[in-house]
Symmetry: D2
Subunit: 469 residues, 4 copies
């Protein structure tokens, strides 16, 4: 593999690439262990106490200055090395998903039934960024590179929006570039975006009554929710087909013999364009109001997730593309291949996806169908992101298969691809600050006069228990 | 049967009863034929041109002064004999029901598929009242009884509310009492009421669009209707159990590949108490508004039927009770019995209902589960009504079985019971005007300070085609 | 009040009534305190550990032999005194309702938000029966009356069906009569029944998928539930109006960005006639199957509550009627009157209900609109029940108003009426065992050859956490 | 314009192009008049008697042999000239759409309220193809070109599927190529497809009952339809986003006071891939079955429209592309420009669409979001189709705006572009039969071993009144 890398390296222009890659290699085993420890104790958003502390400890012992509990969130932190401009930020997520507990086996087998699991590979995400940060710091120190490298521990990406509170807290104000990545089933750099989303809790308040003796005196909050949701289903036909609307009922009454006085819906909508989404959201709100109107209940809305679509950065994507070509992919061992093939048999449709030994760099745009608070960062700082092959080809995030991969050597090899790419890209930027100027210009061009908007009010307090409800 | 009648007659106090009954007998065959001719050419509400003309002709040739096209309705008429007080009115309905075409056979067999039929026996209703009117007129003439007897031809009882326009036109202003009857499966006088109802058309206006190419540009009027109706279904649990809400979709879009720009619901709600009904109606209206709100369509409401519950008259019910006991029931012939038994086999549940040879007089109150514009008359004039056994025991109105009976000798024997009862009661009232004073007092007591209310505005024009839509 | 009682007493034939009433009086304060302690610490069905222990302790210290944890239920118990025939059973319930926590004030004010409360007055129910049992035991002991008096501590009446497991365990096999009561807003003995009910959990199993990235690969269990429930709403129009169907959604998905793989509905249906109910239930099951069919999910049904309608006992009702006339009602103090009037102002409609100073004894049948596992007992042993005025007139069970009353002196006065009635009736039966023979005959007549049926299989284990879900 | 054409012509290889274009010019005014006459008397599918006769007459008088009433359809016809191979077919549609009556004005203004209108421009479609056929025939005659040119008058494209019956009748068996076009808002040749569709009527049969007196005895057919449709709405989230499902309710009950014994839904589903559509259709059918199951009604399905997606032909698209480049676009007059601008103001969103003066030729694939029975033809004969700018840029088919354009000189200029393109392409094929061999090979490649499938059984009779229901 290394041979391939050298050959690929010829088409790039990466000074000191070998040195950077050696530094990543030197710490890879340690941060691989870190990723595994986080994977073994999955923690939900805003409750990633041990995961956050573990990463903080590593970075501190590697020479970073760590500030914990930033932006009013106990598990958020910053780790910094160096001083002055330019300031480059790597981001680390480490929250797990509810109900996705899984062993590192190619059959569905929860480690603990009903418990959370790393179905989005954030154990790798946070660890790879930390690995890269350490390698970058060592390179900066060795070569006396000017500027600051920071690692931002960003909690609760899965719905809690930790990064948004960090933006509100001003933590991105002096940042020149953010380099981000996400676990995936292939090594890819592109100009892809992600969906803007918006969500929250629709609470209906009715009047309780004995459901058998006096149902006519009751006003059912659950009726309000049901009428709203039926209306939302009718709405689906009349929104652009890329729209996504999904919901759960988090409270559907307390006892069947009592007309429900309270009911709650948790709903998220998404669209590639935040402005179109705002129009759709307005219509969803009308459905909710209709539910309250028809059931004679009272509606209350509690803002939840609200992520912007990702604004790609053409310049940084070029830098990352060069870096990934240099970083290269990886080969499966025989055991890994067997694991991958077993896992692929559990997937419904055949996967026509590239293997982990290849890297894909292009300028395609399109939109991934998930959402991330990295999108919000991309509206305030030049930001680029890529995926690395931590999951077996064909495996989608938020599945038990992804959770399984995230605990294996496949996941760890993928996180090394990510760390190599991040480290190579960051060092290139320190070496050529002009690229950061170009990145800023590319950022302004994509903004096209618009600016970041969010429904999460500055100064508001996160809903720390959002993932428990 | 006549023997029984004489025995029963002893407990009453009916002067000249024999004479009155003879006069009914003398015209019974002719009006029986009239009822059959109307039955053979069923006409929907406001379109009862031939039926109305036939009855007008009979009454005119029997010496009544006929005024046609009263109250702005071509098929409404008044027929009058005598002059001055007291004024007693008999009411005649003659409209048929859509889709209930039926031969006079005990198996479901439309005379003409999809055509109207006399499933409510109004061919008998109008004819029996006319038969009674003629007998009363002859008795008044023979004995020089003081006062006026009138026959009101009241169109479109099945939803068009002809009587309400006749009230608005002032036709009931000088009336002292109204004696009414309705075809049924037994001979009964009671203090029963009928349900108040309210109804109309909910029209939704949306935006058409190609349903495949641009569904997101359309706003579906049908969605508006569906969301409204789903909400109405949820409402059912939370209204008093005696409530009835029923609807049809009269326009559900014009082509499946076009987002419907128009949709229409025809809905009726009912409750024994008009005031409670008004509250329920308010909630139905909210469901409709919710449908429009959630689908971004425009709602228009067109008032339809609005009948008051029937206000019983304790005094007139006593008079009718005496009259029916004197009038007596009737016996089946062997052929009629066979017809009745065949018909009863087509009914789901066994009928524990009294036979046509008995008469039932009591003071039970309760509410029948249908509605009638005779209810509105009962709020402006002392009114009483009864049923006569024109249908085989167990047969409900608005069924093909009822339509079958209405064309047979069973129906005609029932209508004779009705005519005898009406004639005997009216003559008793002419003989004892004090009973009309008592009826007025009983009326005031039941009103209890309330007064007639209707959503049909004075001066508004009937929707003559309501039954065709 | 006592004066009134003596006057009323003349029409009865209650030997030793004064003595019995004195015995009740002597223990009333203590059991009033017991009722208050249970009220202050409301416990849900099958979790009434402290409440059950408290009543057991009282009865044990009053000389009863107590057996705890009977019929496989930790909080069920029997307390027995005497030996041999006849065997008369009083029943004590003591479970609270979820979400009805309330202070003893005439405004809605939870003692602890979201916590359970005694909205059905079972704190009084269990205490009054225990008070009566002690008085009866003392009277039996004093006069050497033959037979056995038992108190059955029956847990989880609110849906758990403790009594059914006690029937299955054979605890009613040697019983000659059961005397039961229930808190209400008036003192009434009649032949009223209660609704038969049936219920359970409808579980839908779908396929999880990322709701934004691959909704088309998911099969939503929540869709299954929603389609089922929409269909149930349409069903409401087409069942007899006395039917009741009510439900909550106990699991509506785990995260809004995951297509729900599991959803659960808890639904109860009721009708005065268990046989009609079975037909309706069959149609509800079709709605559930339709939900699974249309959403391509799998349906699982878990049987829940299943209570029989109450079979009245004409003979025991006569005994109870005599007893209640002797027991008499009670007067409000000025403070109680003020409390009552304040509370009544919180009720929507004016209450035309009898006051607590009157007693109502008649043979009306009809059906109360709630359900009870006392209904099941009534199908296996001659059983009669009545209500006592523990709630302010107009207050319905399962409301915060009822929960408030249950903690006041009004509730305690009502429970004394109940205790006096129970004690007088039981002693009459020991005195006149022939009445028990007549009660047995009346029981057989009402059974009319039918026998008790239940969906709760003999030997099955209760769902101890049913009220927590 | 002509100058432009000559310049463009240099890049093609069209022998005798000038001659062909002259022939089209010579007949353009006449067929423009024909298109206007058809536009003035819009006729619904299978009822295009006058439109069909008009086109037959023109072709007959121009020397074609006409056979009317082919394939069992009175308004279908073939018109033929020449003999032997190759056989090239042009297709002419002439049916209108219900409810789209419109004057040739840039404001919504029906010529006759509620009447049909040419909202898909088929008045132009049939006329342009006839114009081309005449020009081709003259060129063949003048130059002695070998082979046969045919015009197929194909009725009821808007849902009736006339072409499918013509395939079943063997009319396409000896055909070498079909050249087709469709009115649009731009001049475009590509490899675009259209959606496969499937549809039909879902009929529910219930039990009628008086909706107020005995709703519990009724089984509502409308409930069946509503439950089905609610389930279909829930289905939308879980099918691929390109799917289209749309429906109307063609019968929603006959009278609001009668439980509907009959209800009917007309539903169409579409997807770019017929095989995927079959899977989706299966799930829609389950929704319908669920509706019947839950409402205890009976379901009947009557097959309606079933069109295949369009199989592009790479070779014929090249021929058409060359022809259209030669044919060129057209310029607006000042009056036309004003009309266009007025009309565009009535469109919700700004139209970024090419003008009529440009032509667009590429190999893009994608799928248009409508469906056509030309798709079925494309599965049995090498077929290619294109659009010409008959509508103002931004105007979508099936709108009043399209209907307005179809009656103006804009529409007529667009149809001339189409006729020129068709004529040039056909003559090129007669001149170079090798291109037809290549077209056959391209056809086989796209088939990839599959063959045409349809739910319309061979020998079945069309539903001639489908558009009237």
């Amino acid at each position: 593999m290394r041979t391939v890398l050298f050959l690929l390296g010829l088409c790039g222009a990466l000074p000191a690439a070998d040195s950077v890659l050696s530094r990543v290699d030197a710490h890879a085993a340690n941060f691989g262990e870190v990723s595994r420890r986080i994977w073994e104790s999955p923690e939900l958003g805003f409750h990633e106490t041990a995961s956050s502390a573990l990463l903080q400890g590593e970075l501190r012992s590697d020479g970073f200055t760590v500030e914990a509990g930033v932006a009013g969130m106990p598990t958020a932190f910053t780790a910094s090395y160096g001083s002055g401009k330019p300031v480059i930020v790597l981001m680390g997520e480490f929250d797990a998903l509810p109900g996705l507990s899984q062993k590192d086996e190619p059959v569905q087998s929860p480690a603990k039934a009903g418990a959370p699991g790393h179905g989005c590979g954030h154990n790798l995400l946070g660890s790879a960024s930390a690995l890269a940060a350490v390698a970058i710091k060592e390179e900066m120190a060795a070569r006396g590179l000017k500027g600051t490298i920071r690692y931002y521990g960003t909690p609760a990406e899965e719905g809690g929006g930790g990064k948004i509170y960090m933006i509100h807290a001003g933590l991105f104000r002096d940042v020149d570039a953010v380099l981000a990545w996400h676990p995936g089933d292939a090594n890819e750099v592109s100009l892809h975006s992600m969906l803007a989303n918006n969500g929250g809790r629709f609470r209906f308040y009715g009047i309780a009554s004995h459901a058998a003796a006096a149902p006519e005196r009751g006003r059912s909050a659950l009726d309000g929710a049901m009428i709203m949701l039926n209306a939302v289903e009718f709405l689906r036909e009349h929104v652009p087909q890329e729209t996504r609307i999904h919901y759960i009922i988090t409270n559907g009454g307390s006892a069947p013999n009592v007309v429900p006085a309270f009911a709650e819906v948790n709903l998220i909508a998404r669209h590639p364009d935040a402005q179109v989404l705002a129009g759709i959201w307005n219509r969803i709100m009308k459905c909710a109001q209709a539910g309250a109107l028809a059931s004679e209940t009272r509606l209350e809305f509690v803002q939840g997730t609200n992520y912007s679509n990702v604004l790609p950065n053409d310049e940084l994507a070029e830098v990352l593309g060069r870096a990934m070509r240099k970083a290269g992919g990886y080969q499966y061992t025989a055991a890994e291949r067997q694991f991958a093939e077993s896992l692929q048999k559990t997937l419904g449709a055949p996967a026509h996806r590239p293997g982990p030994d290849s890297v894909h760099v292009d300028k395609s745009e399109g939109s991934g169908m998930a959402s991330t608070d990295a999108g919000d960062v991309s509206w305030v700082v030049p930001t680029a992101q890529f995926t690395a092959a931590t999951f077996v080809p064909g495996v989608a995030p938020h599945t038990w298969q992804a959770a399984a991969c995230a605990g294996t050597t496949i996941g760890r090899k993928g996180m090394e691809v990510a760390a190599r790419t991040l480290a190579l890209a960051a060092v290139e930027l320190y070496d050529n600050p002009a690229e950061l100027v170009a990145a800023k210009a590319a950022f302004q061009k994509r903004l096209a006069g618009r600016h970041w908007q969010t429904n999460i009010a500055p100064g508001s307090k996160p809903d720390f228990d959002y993932a428990l409800k």
